[in-house]
Symmetry: C2
Subunit: 526 residues, 2 copies
């Protein structure tokens, strides 16, 4: 079933000589399938096909794109060995695989609904005023169109939902942009299965060859070639700050720079206000013990940084958190490399001066299983030592014990950008510290009240993004249907003949989309 080949458009291809395998972290052995890295020539072919496909795919109707997206969802559900392959390439449990598959399929169908309805193009019409003085006003009609071929780099920690046919791919296809996936080497088999489903769906729904390609690669050269290729017009990436920044820089150095939306690191600060801890320190400690270890701490919204003001209640919170978190059974990380990075980065954190280790799972664990750890540090030390500000991917968290709310506010402003921030507050308590709420808002894309940051709802009101380095462009979200805006540009027709206009801009509004016509939102015809 798994061939190890690339998909260069519709064509399986393996002309290269560099091969690699995936790894099963649960059994601690390599998987059997052999994957062949794409050659430079194969990459050029994929981009050429995508460029040609864009000419027709960018004009494809919403209904037809929706049929394609729904067919991808159907084909994914029909893949017989998907869950099994997913588990053996990620070490994640079957329940997670099935949940993530559901989310992936749900995202594809959500984008199908979005383009079927059609208002996402933001049709805007200002009709002509030929008699206006001193100059006649022309007829202007604007809508969103796709940017061109998009390269997607999937995430190691979401082999389905943020990978081959995940959010970035679904959004780009919905926008009318052909997609070239740089397959993640840790789940190349899962990627190939999903890619085969996309190709099947494309053929069934008569999409052009080149609308989708899947490129194998185990190093960085293939990704670099893709991002540097003049035919590529945008890039989506989910992963490390180092990786995302490298691609961002590369794209910026092109003769024609292109947008790179990279969703990267985040430590997701949680601010625990004094009364909230006085009232519920034990309950919050238990809740956070779970959130910190959820998915072996391998979520980008993992709460890695907890802030409180020194008090008995904070001490109690730390004690209970420390006690609870080591009760949780350790679980498997995605790959030995990720486990290795976790141990190395944790060692470095534990070697910093003036930190206190309050919890450290000390029982024996299987290979690639992560031991959860919590440390504390005071505000001044944290502020000085920026090593402690960095994301530590895994089941690790740090409680920063501040002298005062003023110090806490000051520290928040010094943090790098974050995906999320969370406020724990008693009834009426948040009202008393608007400065802290402001400070958190300044640094994050989403703010949560009395909850945990883990769990990212896929809905229009979600923002998954934030100030750098949470993302490379805080003006967009990576999750939810609004993420389509990353891959589109507004385009304006001036005095264009009615019969040549796209349907969304025609007087009769045959698609019935919501439009801004002469300043008024309406679904009426003109």
């Amino acid at each position: 079933m798994i061939t190890g080949k690339n998909f260069i458009g519709f064509t399986p291809s393996a002309n290269g000589t560099k091969t690699y395998k995936t790894f099963n972290p649960q059994t601690n052995v390599e998987n059997e399938d052999v994957f062949t890295e794409a050659t430079s020539e194969e990459i050029n072919q994929a981009v050429a096909l995508a460029t040609e496909a864009f000419k027709t795919f960018s004009k494809t109707s919403g209904t037809d794109k929706a049929a394609f997206l729904n067919a991808i969802a159907d084909e994914i559900m029909a893949l017989e060995t998907l869950v099994e392959t997913y588990c053996k390439e990620s070490g994640l449990p079957e329940g997670r695989a099935m949940g993530e598959r559901g989310r992936t399929v749900g995202q594809l169908r959500a984008f199908a609904n979005l383009v079927t309805e059609g208002s996402w193009v933001e049709a805007t019409i200002d009709t002509a005023q030929p008699a206006r003085e001193p100059m006649p006003k022309p007829d202007l009609r604007k809508m969103n169109i796709g940017l061109g071929p998009v390269v997607v780099f999937g995430a190691s920690n979401f082999p389905l939902a943020y990978s081959t046919a995940g959010g970035d791919t679904a959004a780009a296809l919905a926008a009318g942009c052909p997609v070239i996936v740089k397959s993640h080497p840790m789940h190349a088999g899962t990627g190939e299965l999903i890619a085969s489903a996309v190709i099947k769906a494309a053929k069934k729904t008569n999409m052009p060859d080149g609308v989708f390609s899947n490129i194998n690669s185990s190093g960085i050269e293939v990704g670099q070639q893709l991002v540097s290729h003049p035919g590529v017009k945008a890039v989506g990436f989910t992963g490390s700050i180092r990786g995302g920044r490298a691609l961002y820089d590369l794209a910026g150095q092109r003769e024609e720079p292109i947008p790179v939306f990279a969703e990267m690191g985040s430590v997701n600060p949680v601010v625990m206000l004094p009364k909230a801890l006085e009232e519920k320190s034990e309950a919050w400690a238990k809740t956070y013990a779970s959130s910190i270890t959820l998915g072996t701490g391998q979520f980008c919204t993992n709460p890695g940084l907890l802030f409180g003001v020194k008090s008995d209640a904070l001490t109690q919170f730390v004690d209970v958190l420390a006690k609870e978190i080591v009760e949780i059974a350790p679980s498997c990380m995605l790959h030995p490399n990720i486990k290795g990075a976790y141990d190395k980065n944790k060692d470095r954190a534990l070697q910093q001066e003036a930190i206190t280790v309050v919890a450290n799972y000390e029982g024996d664990v299987k290979p690639n299983y992560a031991q959860q750890t919590v440390i504390t540090v005071d505000g001044a030390t944290f502020l000085e030592n920026t090593t402690l500000h960095q994301e530590l991917f895994g089941p690790f968290s740090m409680v920063v014990q501040c002298e005062s709310l003023e110090e806490l506010e000051h520290i928040i402003y010094k943090l790098e950008g974050q995906l999320t921030g969370t406020l724990l507050a008693a009834e009426g308590e948040a009202e008393t510290c608007p400065e802290i709420v402001n400070a958190v808002q300044n640094r994050v894309g989403r703010i949560i009240f009395n909850g945990v940051p883990t769990g990212v709802e896929v809905c229009p009101a979600m923002v998954h993004g934030g100030p750098y380095p949470a993302s490379t462009d805080s003006r967009f979200t990576a999750v939810g249907t609004q993420s389509i805006k990353r891959w589109v540009r507004p385009f304006s027709y001036q005095d264009w003949p009615e019969n040549l206009l796209p349907e969304a801009l025609q007087d009769a509004n045959p698609l019935g989309v919501l439009r801004l016509v002469n300043g008024v939102e309406t679904r009426d015809k003109i």
Copy 2:
């Protein structure tokens, strides 16, 4: 009236020692006022004030921001020496000054209306579903908020409408972002007058000190310091490709990269289809003689490149264009440097092999007046010689005579990105060549039917932007109220208490804005 000082927030300041003057290109002498370049310390103060001002200004209500924007418009209209100063710093005629002032004031009022109405925040609400299985759905509410302090670099060719309080500034203030203007040295006096109007308006409407600063500078160092400053969160620029790209690169190299929206070069290709020329070659030639020389060719939408297929009608078009364009009286350019660049770049173009000069104004002209020129070249030569693809800022145009429509299409795909493209077609003719329409669309932000690209209507359906290098990010427009999107990011509140939510997201919808509530657009309360 003109002091030559910077405005560091509300405070006039001139601590530096580097001074400069503006120049009157009509009289060919320096103007008298002496401007003092800002010091590094003054720049830091301006950014610090802006950072502090952002904390409150970002939360200012739409009504209050509108009062500020309208007050700026009022104060600009009350400036007694504005038109006179504008003319003596630009060489542009009084009528143009008054027209541009009207446009500037109109833009400010349009943004005032936008933020008064309020729907621009794109409020999106997904209400909670506590009973959802397997996980409860949280309440999520999203809206656009300002990015932070924005630096604006004004354009030499629009001393009012795209400069100190021009489109970029109006959009940023509307978004709740403090603005620091890097004053254009060619119209520093005009800039200071406008800045004084902004400061007056800010004080009258109780805006925070630091909401606006105006920084004098005659070189590149001040701009570099501003773009590199960690407190600056976005940059708007209108000008040359070299200048815009340098700032874009600088912003990309920051530890925290920031968005730079630069509107740069464009040659605005015009495709003249065969029948259109057969029917109306003379009329189009006359129309284009005017468009090419309008404003001494100093518009970013100037038609610098005209494409046709070799025919008697194309020859006639060229003949009439050549004859008509030299009948037009030459006019003054903005500055000796701009006239110098025009002459130098034109000389280079005229020295290229296999071009033919068909029109070249040969009468005597006053200093800084530009002589209009038209050349022709065949398609193959044009394609090979990329020197001919570059923008030549001034009253110059080139007719590319192609062998066939296929060659024409091929050439269009090879062009760099453009602000506009224009199609001249006879009745029913555009329908016969969808490939050419596609090719033009691929390369531009706005496509015009049977018209001229000069003239940029300020309205919601306008797109002024386009693929690189027309702009650094084709996903945004620089003109029209939608340009506010360059300076905002979506922000999401999860399970946030109703009384702490911004008005636009409260259940009762007290602002009455259009919102997407659980997938449905509505102005209703929840």
